[in-house]
Symmetry: C2
Subunit: 147 residues, 2 copies
């Protein structure tokens, strides 16, 4: 049931944009949904997971699939660390941003009004129409803050 719903999202988005549903795209999409949905996966992580699933996808193909899914608004890329490989996650309807703990390395999502606040603030006060708000905070999480 969950799987079916997942696939449905993918199928519809691809077809509506005139693209084909292929094993590779399905495998990448599935890999992003595995386990905890908060996962931030590098392209290599994703490729690895597709192999574990039995439908091994090539790295180049994974890059192409992710690029397409990003265009379609199904996935989201973030550069949590400059220089490090880009990390991918399924797009979430709520705007959120990333809290990266520099001690334990954990990445949490933070959903809230903050992004909307930023957007309004800029529109009203600055005439800037925000499309995407990329907010990453590095610091120490509640567990690690006292060392």
């Amino acid at each position: 049931m969950e799987l079916a719903e997942d696939e449905h999202t993918l199928v519809v988005a691809l077809r509506d944009a005139g693209h084909r549903l292929t094993d590779a795209r399905r495998a990448v999409w599935t890999a992003l949904g595995d386990g905890d949905s908060d996962a931030h996966l590098s392209v290599d992580d994703i490729v690895e997971r597709t192999h574990a699933q039995g439908a091994g996808v090539d790295r180049a193909t994974a890059y192409r699939a992710l690029g397409l899914l990003e265009e379609l608004g199904l996935v989201r890329a973030s550069q949590l660390d400059a220089g490090a490989p880009v990390q991918w996650e399924r797009a979430h309807p709520d705007e959120h941003f990333h809290l990266r703990c520099t001690v334990c390395g954990d990445v949490e999502h933070h959903v809230g009004t903050l992004v909307a606040t930023v957007r309004e603030h800029l529109d009203a006060g600055h005439g800037f129409r925000a499309d995407t708000v990329e907010l990453t905070v590095h610091g120490r999480c509640a567990r690690c803050r006292d060392h």
Copy 2:
């Protein structure tokens, strides 16, 4: 006068941390101060400027110098576009973030209370102690918003 003050900042920071003042570091620092101080320069831009100044610095050396100056808090790196080369600017005492116009490509600085607001919000409401807040907004600036 302005140049002398510039250099002073650099000299003091380097010496206090036990590093040497070299032509290469001075050239990189100067390159970042050239022209409009709002410039966001890639490493290649910086190298190019050092050559224009007459004190040509190697790319590897520029990377090393920037890494050091970043540690000393004199410069700041930002990844305005995932995948694109990192861009550098002199550190500014005010916390600010970047507004990137997707039409004209311009990058403006926005100084204000927003970053502090984010920081407080996370500390009070979430127990997260923020060290660095990286906020980049992509959208259309006041000039380009109406196409």
